[in-house]
Amino acid sequence: MAKTLGKSTLSALLVVGGHELRSRLRDGTAPLIALVAPILLATMFGLALGGDDDPPFKATIGVVDLDGGEFPASVQREALNTDELKGVLTFRQYPDEAAARGAVDGGESGAALVFPAGFSESVGAGRGGQVSVLESPESPLAGVVARSMVDRISALVEARTLAVRASLEAGVPADRVQLFVEENGAAGPALSLVGDPVSGGKVDLAVHYGAGMAVMFAFFVVGTTARSLLVERQNGTLDRMRAAPLPLWTALMGKSAVGFGLALVSMCATWLSSVLIFGASWGDPLGVFLLLLAHVFAATAIVMLVASRAKTDAQADGYTLGVAFVFAFLGGSIVPVYNLPEWLRSVSLITPNGWVSAGLSELAGTGAGPSAVLVPIAVVTGIGVVAGTLALLGFRKGRFA
């Protein structure tokens, strides 16, 4: 019995899905959203942002070293040696803060770091210290680099301050601690900016924004399914499907599956055309595919959640549009995430867009394999599971499922 039910349910899913797909093909939306639009998208971004003509990202950062100790020197040395910043970063020295401010405002340097007098000594003695940053709105990227360097420095300073204090507490003589810190300080603060948008300095902008748009577009593609679901509800054909001897969720799943499939085709079309036409590098194919797959799942679930709350097809359209744009914005597909205020940047973490973008940057930027993006894939899938569960509950509560 269970087996025949399973079989008839499966065939009903196919019937519903087949019907949905045929009507998408009939009205021409399927080829448009699954193939034409994404290829156009990839082409536009490829032409506008892609290729080698782009000047590679460069930043000049001013340094005001009022300290003169080992610490500022080692920061610069290390920064110039990191993989992410090698060849990207140039340091320029200024005698004082005023000179640096002038240079930053004048565009000579993108940003500047100011090490206060006595910084190294203060850190060595366990008293901590603070480096400040001068920025200009004209060079946001340089500002980001400078700020992330300061973040790293602060973390180190804090760790050392704690270590020194602990050593002093433990009764180690102050001069020995000082010596020890200076010796080890020479090894330098290990600067690493991985995972920061700066590492996107090596990611093709066409890939970053093209992918971001594809990620957003996936919502629209699934949105056509949400719309058709609402239209069917208004036409009464959904009730007719629900009156058929099938589990209630069959209609919902059959239609969602088509939205899911079309969105997957659409994202892969952007990806493949960007790779095949423009030779863009998205990184490890399996990793990219799994990320896209997870995203399409999450997008389908989110759009269905939205549809479960909508009363008319126009409302479903509106909600989908809103969600897609807000998520794209928060996820860094429209403006870079680091341009957002701090609190919005953390909100970005609840959007699949943010995670997918980060994952794609990781793959494209570092050449890492699928294992490097397991966390984004898991998180995005998790977002999908949560949204999907809420959607099902919503549909059950209404007259839908």
């Binding site: 009507s23 009205d27 058929a244």
Partner: protein, 312 residues
Amino acid sequence: MTPALVCERLVKRYGDKTVVDRVGFHIDEGEAYGLLGPNGAGKTTTISMLVGLLRPDEGSVRVGGIDVDEDPVAAKRLIGYVPQEIALYPELTARENLRYFGRLHGLPRRELASRIGEVLDLVGLSGRGDDKVGTYSGGMKRRTNIAVALLHRPRLLILDEPTVGVDPQSRVAILDRVEALVGEGMSLLYTSHYMEEVERVCTRVGIIDQGRVVADGSKRELVAELGGTDRVELTLDGDVTAAAEKLRTVEGVSEAVVTGSSSIRLLVAGGRHLLPALLSAVGDTGAVTGVEVVEPDLEAAFLHLTGSTLRD
């Protein structure tokens, strides 16, 4: 024998409004049951619960002995449901619509093709089966709407006002077909505003008003409740509202409702004898142009039970 349908104490509330209030009735195997009620009485809401589209707040439904809440899939196999609103894909042909819904009912392809031919024949649309439903007239859409529910040869056919907007000729055709299906042993639940349809097709009738079944029985039983009361239809030129007002004061008149711009329906004990009193009661509020005394019928029973008319 297991009844085709049993529902008990069905309740549906929207907010603090109870739109279906402890509705219960049963339909025997092969029986044709009519649910009569004015707009908003709760007919469609009740049916939605019977066919598993809406979960009742209280109460239970069994179709062919199967609890709809416990095993909706098995229960739905027995039901052919014709929704009140046309529920078809206008961009598809009748045949394509039928094929889709037939497949959802699990009909195998080969059998489906012959059944589609049969039901198109049955509703008199064989010649137009390959035209898009969007190009159909209202009556043709209605007939297609019915055809979809017949494909899987249900044991219980549920028709929610199937003849709205259908011309008299097609209506007769539809009723003939429905009667024939009942004759072949199909059980039927039929809702309508049209008293004469229910009188013709159904052997038992439930009268539903404001979410409650106020009476349930054969036509004869319902009419018998009227006692010696006749239905009198009065037409007049003048102020019908004022005339109805005056008529209500006449001894023996239990109901007097305005049914049109120049018509009033009355329930009158011993109708014929009271005619002179009625005419004088109308007095100067209008000139009576016609009087008809009708044998007790469902229309009269309905008025008696609900104090209102079916059609408004």
